[in-house]
Symmetry: C2
Subunit: 212 residues, 2 copies
């Protein structure tokens, strides 16, 4: 094993530290967040920080870092009109999805330059990504500052959900391999997902026989 | 596509809603959080909510839900002594890792009953999971309440990092497939990670030729 102390981490070249610390938490979901501004211009940006916060009400959060200047369009648009969609990046569009992180100006729609299709559905005020197999429409409910380093968690309530039929079971399980969802590590590496197994709800008195 | 409105989500059977909303954000990292209490009893619990918050200082967060009673041991221990380790669950131990979520009493160490090995390293006060190929030692710095639904984000600063040599590049890229890390969807489905590709830093004037 390679060991890094706190001192090693602090004194490491900046880019190497960024790479390590951005990968160290493990796999992250690849989501495209779609917004519009008051002049109806579309914005689409990739985020790897989307997290589940609660199921009733159905709440989803994502982290905005102060230095992510381009991501400000997403934030400004959400503050302006309160609505956004979160769309899983499908595994045939990882290169296209990655380039939505480039710092385009406000006149440029990432839908156009990165080859995605905006699709309005069920009167939702913001478009969905047509190519995505798993997506949701949200309303902004809270912005939580994380004072220690100036990041903000944007919290939204789910108003609509779209799931590809083949990936959804009767009980509500979603097979992410079937939905062609991908994971990200760090800032730029993309992974396919291969299902290992599903296990039952874990009870202390029903331990299985462990092989290892 | 299957469509669910806000009304559909609210009126759905509770377990189905839990399953859908827990899967809808996409893949999540599988991490074992290791703590000790004031009587030096070990606790180990699986978490899928670990997120990167910043690189300098290196800050990591995870979400605790109020209803996760068993997870209280992790929270109590962190509040008691301020230190914990986060260890990637390796892909040959997914069943064992899953069962650390069972509600064992405080006298029971999940290390023992779920077949993991506690390993003390470099004078860190809390053990690491020996079987893990990617792990870190943290000090608690902030607990952030998310008032909308009563969850708490626990924020820690990284003091130590251990990475399997074969998975770490000179530039600090960590190959999660090589580190045998896994992903989780929902509460109980585990996925292997297969690397698709790494892409360069995205600049608006250096767009590649997209195939789709």
């Amino acid at each position: 094993m390679t060991f890094f102390s706190e001192e090693d981490i602090l004194q490491m070249p900046k880019v190497k530290r960024l790479n390590i610390i951005n990968s160290i938490t493990g796999i992250k979901p690849a989501n495209l967040i779609s917004t519009i501004d008051e002049r109806n211009r579309h914005n689409l940006a990739i985020f790897s920080s989307v997290v589940h916060l609660g199921s009733n009400p159905a709440l989803i959060g994502f982290i905005l870092r102060p230095q992510q200047k381009i991501r400000r369009h997403t934030h400004e648009n959400i503050l302006e009109n309160g609505y956004y969609t979160i769309n899983h990046l499908p595994n045939h569009k990882t290169l296209e999805g990655h380039y939505t992180s480039a710092k385009f100006d406000k006149e440029t729609s990432e839908y156009d330059v990165c080859h995605f299709t905006p699709e309005f559905q069920h009167d939702f005020p913001v478009p969905y990504v047509k190519e995505s197999f798993l997506k949701m429409g949200l309303k902004h409910v809270e912005s939580i500052p994380i004072k220690y380093n100036g990041t903000v968690m944007i919290v939204g309530k789910i108003l609509q959900v779209y799931v590809a039929k083949s990936s959804l079971s009767e009980e509500g399980y979603i097979n992410l391999e079937e939905a062609k969802s991908v994971g990200i590590s760090g800032l730029n590496t993309y992974y396919d997902l291969k299902k290992i197994d599903s296990y039952p709800y874990a009870r202390p008195h029903e331990l299985p026989h462990f092989k290892s």
